[in-house]
Subunit: 215 residues, 2 copies
């Protein structure tokens, strides 16, 4: 499998975690978002959405949208599972994942931030406020959802699930933009726990082939 | 089941379509977003994300996040299916659904538009430009994804799937904000086809208990 990825992209990071948790080998094809390589014709032919990640299967089929790809991996490579066995648990994990994927992340991607600058002459300060607002609002809701008996060392029980695959990259992003994490002790605890897990480490933006400073 | 819904909310509309396609009866509990009822303590206790929809099951369990709820319904009430039987088909349908749920809709919800006004003194004209931009960009990508042999009368084959549950409300929104649909003939064709389907009609913002002008 070939993963079209950018080291710092949250959505790429999510999928790298899932691939690592399932022990699936893949080649990384870096797409440099700073150089806007996702807009180039060669990549556009692979993913007309001009977004990373995309996952090319060995037969050439290209899958897009990180959550859809993760559900595909879960169906085709069910072990270890990234969703609980019961439907209510699965609904909880997916809701937590979507609370990141639909309520926080889409507002803080480069294309939106660039547009804020172009359209509203948004300053760097206002940009940071914008990021912090959606992260804080989203984390406050997730922190409340985590005050639930099913929460364990990870978001749902003691093994990582799709919810952790989504949450950890979002925390990485929050820290990168200096969002205060004190109001979210459960999120912070899960983040610290996940960082000690080899799959999360392998998937981290610091350890990718296209991480600046790596060979 | 009890659905916490707002007649014009896209995310509520999606879920109403899925419920109607599966023939599942429910009571509607209207949450008026114009009156900010989603922020009131009683609703916050039901869904700390302060978003609609939420679905309360008969035992009182509350499910949140429209896509997670639809996956739950698909697991518990598999007929008629809203996902294809094959994993690659399922990945395609979920990717189309997420292309709406993660790339278009989150940018155009009231809380974001209100924030644009508060933070950047965004005019009505700039607000409409903002909406149109993300809808157009997203629809252009989806239109390309629909140029695929699996596309039928609906997004994937000739029966409605989760992709249509997501796409139709987004088109409704686009038309409401006068986004030109000429560049997206496949999307428009699927929209027109869906509107003739009784489940899509029953779920429509025009036909809800809380639609203004209805009793």
């Amino acid at each position: 499998m070939k993963l079209y990825s950018y080291y710092r992209s949250s959505a790429s990071y999510r999928l790298r975690i899932a691939l690592a948790l399932k022990g699936l080998p893949y080649d990384t094809e870096p797409i440099n978002l700073l150089k806007r390589e996702e807009h180039e014709a060669t990549y556009r032919a692979i993913n007309p959405q001009m977004l990373v990640p995309s996952l090319a299967l060995d037969d050439g089929t290209v899958l897009t949208q990180s959550l859809s790809i993760m559900e595909y991996l879960e169906e085709v490579y069910p072990n270890p599972p990234l969703l609980p066995a019961d439907s209510l648990g699965r609904a909880r994990v997916r809701a937590l994942a979507l609370a990141v994927a639909c309520e926080i992340h889409p507002l803080n991607v480069p294309r939106v931030l660039n547009h804020l600058v172009a359209e509203f002459s948004c300053t760097d300060e206002a940009k940071n406020r914008w990021m912090a607002r959606w992260i804080s609002e989203g984390f406050a809701a997730i922190e409340t959802l985590l005050a639930h008996p099913a929460t364990g060392a990870f978001c749902h029980g003691n093994m990582p699930t799709l919810a952790d695959c989504l949450l950890i990259p979002q925390v990485f992003n929050a820290l990168r933009f200096q969002v205060a994490m004190d109001p979210y002790p459960a999120i912070r605890r899960i983040y610290d726990h996940a960082l000690a897990h080899p799959a999360f480490l392998a998937a981290s933006p610091e350890n990718q082939p296209d991480t600046p400073g790596k060979s």
